[in-house]
Subunit: 441 residues, 2 copies
């Protein structure tokens, strides 16, 4: 997978997430429901088919799909061109238009992402921990597909193919609800994918981008086993609030670095510089620095390094005098995921106070401590309540590829089912299989 | 745990699930919200405390709690007596009153259930699969508590103590919302538990049983990490529809047995008899029999066995002539969890047709095939999409104790997070812990 799901959200807030004309007529509502239920029914059937495929059959079809996308590049680029033109006419910001635009190279990248997924080990069918019970029953737990996965995302057409590869590899059918701005591109990509599949309904795209359809889709619990929103905070919040389908919350990261009393100064500065500036718009970027009071003097040197990247510093009262040109941090700053060249700074008197501050303000994504103290390192790992907790490393490593999963469908910031970067395994469930020879209770 | 979470639901539908006077005033709403948020805040703090306890500290407190419940038996029985009297005055059915009633023996049973949980291995803190990445980062996945668990249940006071034991053992705080009918009993039990805990808020009971409070509780997402409804279909449906907190759906079981062409006749009859009649009101009881057409002649003998238990048979057209006194099954019968001495019967021409029928009508709980055919056994295990799939054994084994988990918080019929009987591990999450030495990207 060339793209990480923890994508650049610099401009995500500015996207218009599929809000169209209000359609209120009762008949309209019924037809939306019928349309979605028909899709759900087809997805369920296609999911059963897909669940029965061997790993080799799935991989062959993935490779075919990758080839097909490259062969269809002309058609896909033409469709994408329509999206881009309309977006520009509507005054979309340049950064967003860039994310929307496909090129021959980007299509090649998408295809090679699919081939990489084909090369990954298949988790489906693995039986974990089969044991013999005293009554002779052999009970094992087998990895199985989730069934039908729903994904709601914004205006990046590459997500369409990425998500298909991951869900198909794990034997699932997928129903995609992309952003309105990428409608033609998404439809073109799905057409290519479907054309190589014996059961095209294994990947379906909801083409009606009205809010009514999105809301009804979120409640299609009878047909869809899990819903994954990929995008900005607004999309995720709307999904959590409206869905009756179980949701995996992804993405928001108000990440912290804590410079402990014994931190190596150069290491601390290098980690903060990297985590804050290497890529500002991603969910594992650093947003807030917590500093032990005894280390405030090193902030001047840190400021010099951050100045090179034009990072604006918003410091609390205790730390502000140590900077040359820091603004005053407000309470709100500590709770903000900037996704920008801004860093808040908080002073603490102990590792315990740092942990309390972080657990209060973080979104539970990624936090790191820089320290030479064994006990403080262990305490931080134990007590910080986040998906990924680091000692002496940049938060930027929270990523399916960096963690060795080979691919990632998103980064979960909730505690149920999957937490942290989600690889193929997060797209599976389990079932108990029991071999008996006539046992009754 | 002496009680199974897959409890007898024979009369569950008849419970009045905490529906009180409608309170509409805006001020009332605000105060409900404030009350719940204060509980949530206390639970979060208590959860952090509990997460930091060692296994020994948790076990010692569990044993203390068990002793305390026994010492407080007089006070608890007096409170329970009030609940029972009020229930009888309100005309509650005898079966429900029996479930509500506590006795000295039942309190001893509850205490010994807590002691059994104390004796179980503690999943918290275990690090799974720590690996060294090419850049030298050591990345491991550690079992951690979920945080705050919410449980909504009906009128069985023993659940109060059972749930506390399981959630406390796994380092979680719990907020309980019991049934109105057991209000005094639940409060008395919680009082005993809290009295031995340094942080009493680790177990809290919502004492206001109005529907407004229940609905607001289901949306307390900022404080509660997972919501587990334990009870009848109505309660579970209401929770799924109203909650914004992630829900683990438990319990409903429209379970099937399929008698294949090659089934051993005596084994088939013994399994059907056991699964249907050993305990009718539980979720793993058999509700529907699927029979290969070639084996219809054995139904007469099966009927003789089921007659001893007064099982009413509702048979499809093809099988009905083989019974002496079967009623005609309707389409609705195949989708019904009777929880009663009733069995529907469906005739099929192949294992494939049996699988299709089961996947269409089952609730995804437990299904079994009786067969001597290797291929059909494997096909059934592979393709039946349920939490527990058996070959040649009764469906009644789907239970945390029978599966060797030692205890169970419920049986999940959804695919996310946990599927099938949920032991202690289902009450945990994970976090990634990463040891570095200065790595940046």
């Amino acid at each position: 997978m060339t793209q990480t799901a923890c994508y650049d959200k610099t401009e995500a807030g500015k996207e218009t997430a599929g809000i169209a004309e209000t359609v209120n007529a009762q008949t309209e509502k019924q037809s939306i429901q019928e349309m979605l239920e028909a899709m759900g029914q087809r997805a369920k059937e296609a999911g059963s088919w897909c669940a029965g495929l061997s790993t080799k059959e799935k991989n062959d079809l993935l490779l075919k799909a990758a080839d097909r996308l490259e062969a269809d590049a002309g058609r896909i680029l033409a469709a994408n061109d329509m999206d881009v033109k309309r977006a520009q006419e509507n005054g979309m910001a340049a950064g967003l238009v860039d994310r929307l635009r496909l090129t021959p190279e980007r299509i090649a990248g998408i295809a090679s992402g699919i081939r990489e997924v084909a090369a990954l080990p298949d988790p489906i069918g693995r039986v974990e921990s089969m044991e013999k019970r005293p009554n002779g029953l052999m009970i094992g737990r087998k990895r199985v597909p989730l069934g039908v996965v729903g994904v709601i995302y914004e205006a990046r057409p590459n997500v369409t193919a990425d998500v298909f590869a991951l869900t198909f590899k794990t034997g699932n059918a997928v129903i995609l609800k992309g952003g309105r701005d990428a409608a033609a591109s998404n439809a073109a990509i799905v057409e290519s994918l479907q054309s190589v599949l014996p059961k095209p309904a294994v990947v379906q795209l909801i083409e009606d981008n009205s809010r009514e359809v999105t809301n009804a889709f979120m409640k299609l619990r009878e047909y869809v086993d899990v819903l994954i929103p990929r995008g900005g905070k607004g999309l995720i919040q709307a999904t959590v609030n409206n869905a009756t389908i179980p949701v995996i919350e992804t993405g928001t990261g108000n990440c912290h670095a804590y410079i402990d009393e014994t931190a190596d100064k150069d290491m601390a500065i290098a980690i903060v510089e990297n985590a804050k500036t290497q890529r500002i718009g991603v969910c594992n970027a650093l947003e807030s620095l917590v500093v032990h009071r005894s280390r405030l003097p090193m902030l001047k040197e840190l400021e010099t390094v951050l100045d090179k990247h034009n990072v604006q510093i918003r410091a609390d009262e205790a730390s502000r005098p140590y900077f040359d040109h820091a603004l005053a941090a407000t309470e709100e700053d500590f709770g903000t995921e900037y996704l920008d060249y801004i860093l808040s700074v908080k002073t603490v008197d102990s590792v315990e106070e740092a942990i309390r501050h972080i657990n209060r303000y973080s979104t539970g994504h990624s936090e790191t401590i820089v320290t030479k103290d064994y006990d403080n390192a262990q305490k931080f790992l134990d007590q910080v309540d986040s998906a990924a907790v680091y000692v002496n490393a940049s938060t930027r490593f929270t990523d399916g590829n960096e963690f060795g999963f080979g691919a990632e469908i998103g980064i979960s910031t909730q505690k149920l089912h999957a937490r942290g970067p989600m690889g193929l395994e997060a797209l599976t469930s389990s079932k108990f299989i029991i071999y008996g020879n006539g046992q009754v209770r």
